[in-house]
Subunit: 327 residues, 2 copies
Amino acid sequence: MRATTKDLIERMLAGEGLALAKLITIVENREPETAEIMSAIHGRGSAAVVGITGPPGAGKSTLLDALTVHYRAQGRSVGIVAVDPSSPFSGGAVLGDRIRMQKHFLDDSVFIRSLSARGNVGGLARASRDVARLLEAAGKDIVIVETVGVGQSELDIMRLADTVAVVLVPEAGDTVQAMKAGLLEIADVFVVNKADRDGANKIKTELDQMLHLRPPDGWEIPVLMTVATDGKGVPEVVSALDEHRRHLQESGKAATRGAAGRQGEFRAVLRDELGRRIERALEDESVSSLLGRVERGEVDPYGAALEAINDDRLVAMILSRASEGNR
Amino acid sequence: MRATTKDLIERMLAGEGLALAKLITIVENREPETAEIMSAIHGRGSAAVVGITGPPGAGKSTLLDALTVHYRAQGRSVGIVAVDPSSPFSGGAVLGDRIRMQKHFLDDSVFIRSLSARGNVGGLARASRDVARLLEAAGKDIVIVETVGVGQSELDIMRLADTVAVVLVPEAGDTVQAMKAGLLEIADVFVVNKADRDGANKIKTELDQMLHLRPPDGWEIPVLMTVATDGKGVPEVVSALDEHRRHLQESGKAATRGAAGRQGEFRAVLRDELGRRIERALEDESVSSLLGRVERGEVDPYGAALEAINDDRLVAMILSRASEGNR
């Protein structure tokens, strides 16, 4: 690891916001040092990692804001990762949402970072997880990961959270859409926001009925009502999130999840590294001429790839770049 | 390649639906023979590959149905891939939608297949592309790929199409949501469905205005109005899709896209195959004991992965499995 990176890590662990921001950028861009940084900070901090998701327009950002105010009033520090996998182009939209968070701008105990897809969703879930880890290592008590949409990418990102709050609004068919989108399966807490609107009780009843059909697993998923714009119901959400964390720890689920998570990370890092080496090998002359033939349609891409991978010389080249990988 | 697979390919190319269905299953499950199958059928057929996407509730399935009726009336055969990346759990919902397509069930010239995520979205985009290729090789004139949601995964899947139709409905904020979701960037044709509702002209005007701001690239994106339930406007959509295909060919864009696509496929197959070998290597005793230590938290996952990948022994193991890969 470069001395400057080591230095950044030390400064981040000592609480320096700028060092944290720089490390996040390295990790977000999946630079070669990423794995070493993540290895160096492994086990640091002990944040409650909360995921917030739900359909567009549910008022997630407003709720996030209200939760942050409440956590701060309790004296807890907050790190926020707002992730938008929906489009590599819509960075502006997310930033627009973030403007609401400006009141926390001068609060050193609140750190906010937006991540967007840039065309690589698999990478985005990994980057989100690593950024959440960095915030935890930097000593944040609560790390909140918010996702903007309701696709599979959002579900993948939510897997990094210990506790997931799914936010819905009282609108016709919202429950059905949520069910279709797989949100019911990942929710640890439901929040019906904009609960001063018509239909709030109806959606709560629907959710309660559906949740009643779940096989019991020791945690009863609460359905809470909020009006995030004026903070109504927010303390109850914070209590429920805290209670779910306690449940995870006391039931031993936290340990099981931890083991599975570590195994997944190990595999993912292996894959990432090999992928990086393949990209490098593709720049090699012998491979790039093959690539040219593929582009011109002279050989079919599947056949050419199979040929390349059955070529021990090429595979050895890919793998022999090992020592270059993590300087 | 196994003789049975070779036989399946020959029967599929001869037009046998059952052989096509079996090959699709192999490819959907990413079985080891996938790359060889795709290599064998490379360059077969010459379908127009059309993508249909848009927010839930836009009436995509109904439009798809109406388009199919129209194509069939023109004597063109149709292959349909309906992809739902939104949830590994919601297979039922998609199948429900598909029930509407039952009237085509006895029509040999219409082939319909639903794909869902099963927790692996990256793989889903690859599988969708390959299934579309199989339908093309099987001689379908039109291959339609429909995606259910509006996330990044859907955008990725749409990349496989030559022509993308984005379906919206006249509802407040739909244009803005579409823009946020990145749909404006991928549309070659816009369809405002349910155009008998209030606001249809308003959304058309909004879209036209926004499209007017695009730098000209030789293709003017049309905004068409349909009422898919009674087939209104559907012939115009088919004409626009055909016209876009002609534009791609005449402008040379088809060739450029083809070259980029082939390069991407080559890289993807390399990655897939190496990934498969890593998974196999992870089952080896020496690695699985390391994996156990990672799970128990005795070593950190990032550090352990870096160590493993820099371990010549593991690399040699991956290498030695090369020849097993594609039997």
